[in-house]
Amino acid sequence: MSQHNNLTQQKREPQQQQGRAQSTGAPEGKEPRSGRAWPPLFRATGPARGPRAPEPRGPAALDDEETRLMERPSELLRASRAWRVSEPWRARPSRPPLLPPEPGRVARPVPRAPASEPPTAVMSRPSEALDSVAPSRPSEEPRTGVVRKVTARGAVKRGALATGGPVKAPRDSGLPEHERSQRPSGVRRVSREWRCLELGQPESTRPARRDYSRVSIAQLSIKGELLRHSGPAEWLPDTAEFVHRAALLVAQGLGFQRCRSVCLQGERSVLAVSDAGPSTVTGVTGPVEQLSGVLRQRGLK
């Protein structure tokens, strides 16, 4: 362990000394204290940070390495290949010129390499790459930004359509089993209802709504004219008018000015007639269970 640390420290030492030399403004090319020559990689060639000054061009600016390469063409060729491999963006084949579409001709899309194909660093023959591009299919159209509507029939099995047999509707279409399997038209009906798309989630069972269809409401004016009426009790408007007038007479006979409301509770049904304003009378009738609030408000429950 300690030996490994010593080796690591020896490797780091020249770098630290080089950094110290740069920071202290030591002259370039000064050898370290150990007297060992710097390898070319660690040789200081300029400031480590900051904008790099443009290197001068021309034969005078060539260093020793370039001069050596110029003298030996074989090494120059090898170095050039290595340089092209290390910079793959230079090796990409140039795209065919994208000309504007002429009238009557559809612009060809720019071919793309499939995702599974590994990127090639050096393309030896760009013409081969152009030849390998598949011809443009009719489905490949230039992207115009138009969104196409996808029909639901695409998901139906081809076998069922080919045989002409009945097509099974999905289980989540809200139809019973026998109706899903035996559809005479053979066309699957797409369910338009909202449903949970998460698999395995049971459909929420909503509590059954109360059946208020048996409750009748009649709204009358103070003169007995029918304003509104809803419900199955057709006798309610006349009864409400009569009860309202008779209750007013009862109130006056007992020394009161008016009768605000009359609530009569039977064994199963309720009749309530009350003033709903200065000029409106409302009559309500219905089952006791559905008008329990009215009974509680009148003090009958």
């Binding site: 009864t239 009860v243 007992l254 009161f256 409301s261 009359v262 009569l264 039977g266 064994e267 009749l271």
Partner: protein, 113 residues
């Protein structure tokens, strides 16, 4: 006389002003009301009350309990075998006590008045 005593039980409930008994046909049978209510006027009122209840019965709502709210007062109606027991009370009466007491009195009223 027993009927009169039973109607006076209702006065134990705070807010009760008086009571009377009406036959199903509208006839005034017994009354325990303050003196300010004349008999003729009360007979007419009793017949109107019976008519309202008969109208309701004719339309399928045979009333067992009923309330006439006059704002400043109330008229509580309870059905019994012979007819209807009517209790006149103020607006601030305890409806729960009145309901229980009226049911007991109506149950104790004899069939033959």
């Amino acid at each position: 006389m027993i009927v009169q005593r039973m109607l006076e039980i209702l006065h134990d409930v705070q807010g009760v002003l008086g009571s009377f008994v009406v036959a199903r046909e509208g006839e005034l049978l017994v009354r325990s009301m303050p003196e300010q209510f004349e008999r003729a006027e009360l007979e007419l009122t009793a017949s109107r009350v019976a008519r309202v209840l008969q109208c309701s019965s004719a339309n399928g709502v045979a009333p067992q309990d009923g309330v006439f709210d006059f704002g400043e007062g109330k008229l509580w109606v309870r059905e019994f075998v012979r007819g209807y027991l009517c209790v006149l009370c103020s607006a601030g009466v305890d409806m729960k006590s009145l309901r229980l007491t009226a049911r007991l009195v109506a149950r104790g009223l004899p069939a033959q008045l």
